[in-house]
């Protein structure tokens, strides 16, 4: 069939490392490998994939998954429960050393596996060829929605005899065999990944012939390629379409531009609370008062941001009566004076985003802070250097954003006690308790009480000076029917939110 080719930009270069060790390249698993479940396109709940259905007889401690019948790996081998058991064990295996292992931290026997007293996850069992049982240490009603979503299932018959230590960088990652709608065809380093339609896909054969993931290191070439129709879709990983380029793209009738796409990405000034200068809450509050965030959003960010005064981007998780920290430099000065701020000492200020909008933002922030006597000295650093600064404790202050995902619970690493490195010395047991409580139910109304309470505390104590929730513009070629429509329905786009659900239904416009 002449289904045509869909070209998608992909901003990554570390496919070779493999899904178990990096987020980059993970995107490919959505079309080639599949998980047991997927977040629904619309973000409200999960949908079955390799697992046809599941149930938890004991309110979230034990889960029983019924796998789909007749699913075959791309090489023809039938998919069975053993693959699932194998894959979960692979994630959790300490010898593999996957940063995602923590996702299975609640599974019974995880600790024993980690400290070497067990050689596998005791809680994961194949009941029969097509049934898997997963037992947790304690009841976690949201476990499937929050933890299982981004776990791919790998073919045991291929990876089974690879030593765990050799999984990273294994040849499999550049020649993935999965169960998904597309079959891995070719990988050219720093060029592209080509996948072809899988006529036997269990949700129905895709209409597209193939997808080519074109790899880009830098954002501007993607924009250019989008404009020249060398690619059909922008990848959002680089920050989406740079605000400055929006007008150009909006002029093109073959593109659908979605200018304000919530990224679920709270952006904030980060402080090292272990540093005495920032320990006084008045100092942090002063900084927030000092910055005219509205002006920044309206001008530099051209509206691409939603003012945020606490951690959670989700409406339902935020209290309504938060302190707005409206621009008030006088108050800022007062607070600083009260706190005994030493204006003569400059502040080392690190940041990571190097695109123009963010650089301009930092410039604006610097200017605003300087006006109240906070002399920050921005430094642009790469991740290794930032992590080093975190690690050696020399960190003072910075400008960062962090993906929260769909659920407020995912924000905990930013604020719970002892969470390294992002909590930066903040510890309020009350907050920790609220986060724990938030996971005890899967009823949003019940959960909202905990998170709203937490949002209030975080709004008052400002472990980070919350600035705004990031909004990202995306653009798609109308040539691919289904693509833009899907994104329009999607509530937000973040790293672990799938973007290729129902890709089998997309087609090239005739």
């Amino acid at each position: 069939a002449d289904g045509g080719t869909f070209r998608s930009a992909m901003r990554t270069g570390c496919i070779e490392m493999g899904t178990l060790h990096t987020t980059c390249g993970h995107r490919l698993d959505e079309t080639v490998l599949q998980g047991l479940v997927h977040i629904k396109w619309t973000g409200d709940g999960v949908q079955p994939m390799l697992a046809e259905s599941w149930k938890t007889p004991d309110g979230g401690k034990t889960y029983i998954f019924n796998l789909r019948h007749g699913v075959k790996w791309h090489d023809g081998t039938p998919f069975t429960a053993k693959d699932v058991v194998f894959s979960l064990n692979l994630y959790a295996n300490p010898k593999v050393g996957s940063p995602w292992a923590q996702k299975l931290g609640a599974v019974a026997g995880y600790k024993a596996f980690q400290d070497g007293s067990a050689s596998s996850l005791a809680g994961v069992k194949a009941l029969d060829d097509l049934t898997v049982q997963i037992e947790l240490d304690s009841a976690k009603p949201l476990w499937v929605e929050l933890q299982l979503i981004a776990i791919s299932i790998f073919p045991e018959h291929i990876l089974g005899n690879v030593a765990p230590a050799d999984i990273k960088g294994n040849a499999f990652w550049v020649n993935r065999v999965g169960t998904g709608p597309f079959i891995w065809k070719k990988y050219e380093s720093d060029q592209y990944v080509e996948v072809d339609r899988n006529p036997d896909y269990f949700l129905g054969a895709p209409k597209l012939d193939r997808i080519i993931y074109q790899i880009y290191k830098d954002v501007p070439p993607i924009i250019a390629a989008l404009e020249t129709q060398e690619v059909d879709a922008m990848s959002y990983e680089g920050g989406g379409v740079p605000i400055s380029e929006l007008p150009r793209l909006q002029k093109l009738d073959y593109l659908t531009v979605l200018p304000k796409f919530s990224a679920g990405l709270p952006t904030y000034l980060q402080f090292n609370l272990e540093n005495k200068r920032f320990a006084d809450v008045r100092v942090r509050q002063a900084m927030l008062y000092a910055i005219d965030r509205k002006a920044i959003i309206e001008t530099v960010k051209q509206g691409a941001g939603e003012l945020l005064n606490t951690l959670f981007p989700q409406d339902w998780a935020r209290a309504k009566d938060l302190e707005p920290y409206d621009y008030n430099p006088d108050k800022a000065k007062q607070l600083l004076t009260d706190a005994g701020w030493d204006a003569s000492q400059p502040v080392d200020f690190i940041y990571y985003y190097s695109d123009q909008m963010n650089v301009d933002t930092v410039t604006a922030i610097q200017s605003y802070l300087a006006a109240v006597g906070v002399n920050i000295q921005p430094r642009l650093l790469d991740p290794a250097a930032i992590n080093q600064v975190y690690a050696d404790g020399s960190f003072q202050m910075g400008f960062f954003a962090n993906g929260m995902g769909l659920d407020p619970s995912l924000g905990s690493p930013l604020v719970v006690c002892g969470a390294k490195p992002l909590a930066m010395g903040y510890c309020n047991p009350k907050v920790d308790e609220l986060f724990n409580k938030g996971l005890e139910s899967n009823d949003r109304a019940v959960r909202a009480v905990s998170y709203q309470e937490a949002s209030r505390i975080l709004n008052q104590e400002l472990p980070k000076a919350w600035l705004w929730n990031e909004v990202r513009p995306l653009a798609f070629n109308n040539r691919i029917v289904g693509l833009a429509q899907h994104f329009k329905e999607q509530p937000l786009v973040i790293f672990n939110h799938p973007v290729y659900n129902e890709v089998e239904k997309w087609e090239v416009a005739k």
Partner: protein
């Protein structure tokens, strides 16, 4: 060209001027060189006197007045945070020119010295110095700079030193290559047989005869260094935000939309770099012509 200066041909009886003194005289008669000097002086002066000339501070942001095209208020418009481009050009020139001059001065001094020594003495000296050159040429700048900032911290002074210390090998190789071709020429032998010291031979006989490509290298290096500074500030060395430099102003303009519809953000810094380098080049050309007695002075003005 008919107005080649009279003094040139005048038969001056009496003390003979030094070689470089003679060159200096000829240099001042070179129209293009004079033009270059004036251009350069104007640019430098404008940068030095920036506070008197510019109505705005280089870092005064005005978010509501961003991206304004050139006009009566902001002569060259404003940038993405509403800073006055004209002011930034002037203040940025301070950094760019300082970095350009100092770094190139360092690299030219080291490069010419090492190149002369290696080329003139040859043999083992050459072997060792070439080894040194190879080493420095091999150093991955990116890595060195990242490490350097980490160790000594970012500052403009460090930037200049680092660039200077990394970029001398090209001048050294150029100098050496020229000298290799020159050192066996008879007038050098003649000088040696007169007992002229190596340093005098290098200074009086060799340098004037190999200066032309070196001058080109120096001129071009100023441009490269000014641009290089921009990529350094990107890596945390060089001018740190919000300080402006021509290089990072250009870098900040590297988006398609600015390229297309906000030319006032990139043309001024680009033009300033080009003008600065062009004027340096004119000065260099003048120097070259001044050192070449066969050149008819006053040229380059037609």
């Amino acid at each position: 060209m008919t107005d080649a200066t009279a003094a040139d041909m005048t038969i001056a009886v009496g003390a003979s001027r030094g070689l470089w003194g003679e060159a200096a005289r000829r240099f001042l008669q070179h129209r293009l060189a004079t033009l270059g000097l004036i251009m350069l002086a104007t640019i430098v002066l404008a940068c030095v006197l920036a506070p008197l000339i510019a109505h705005y501070g280089p870092n005064d942001i005005d978010l509501r007045g961003r991206n304004q095209p050139p006009g009566g208020v902001h002569w060259l418009g404003t940038d993405g945070t509403g800073r006055d481009i004209f002011a930034r050009i002037l203040y940025g020139g301070r950094i760019s020119l300082t970095v350009g001059f100092v770094a190139v001065a360092i690299s030219a001094a080291i490069g010419i010295f090492i190149g002369c020594v290696a080329g003139y003495f040859g043999g083992k000296v050459d072997l060792v110095l070439m080894g040194l050159i190879d080493m420095v040429l091999t150093f991955p700048r990116l890595v060195i700079i990242i490490a350097f900032v980490a160790v000594v911290g970012p500052s403009i002074f460090n930037t200049m030193v680092v660039i200077g210390l990394l970029s001398w090998p090209s001048i050294a190789r150029l100098t050496r290559g020229e000298i290799l071709a020159l050192r066996n020429q008879e007038f050098i032998l003649a000088a040696r047989s007169l007992g002229t010291s190596p340093s005098a031979i290098i200074l009086e006989h060799i340098l004037p005869n190999v200066l032309s490509p070196i001058l080109v290298a120096i001129t071009l290096d100023v441009a490269t260094v000014i641009l290089f500074e921009a990529s350094l500030s990107f890596l945390g060395l060089g001018a740190q935000a919000p300080a402006a430099s021509w290089g990072n102003m250009l870098r900040d303009a590297r988006t398609l939309s600015i390229l297309e519809s906000q030319p006032w953000m990139w043309i001024p810094p680009g033009a300033m770099i080009a003008m600065a380098v062009l004027s340096i080049n004119f000065v260099g050309d003048g120097l070259r012509d001044a050192l070449d007695p066969q050149h008819i002075m006053g040229g380059g003005g037609k």
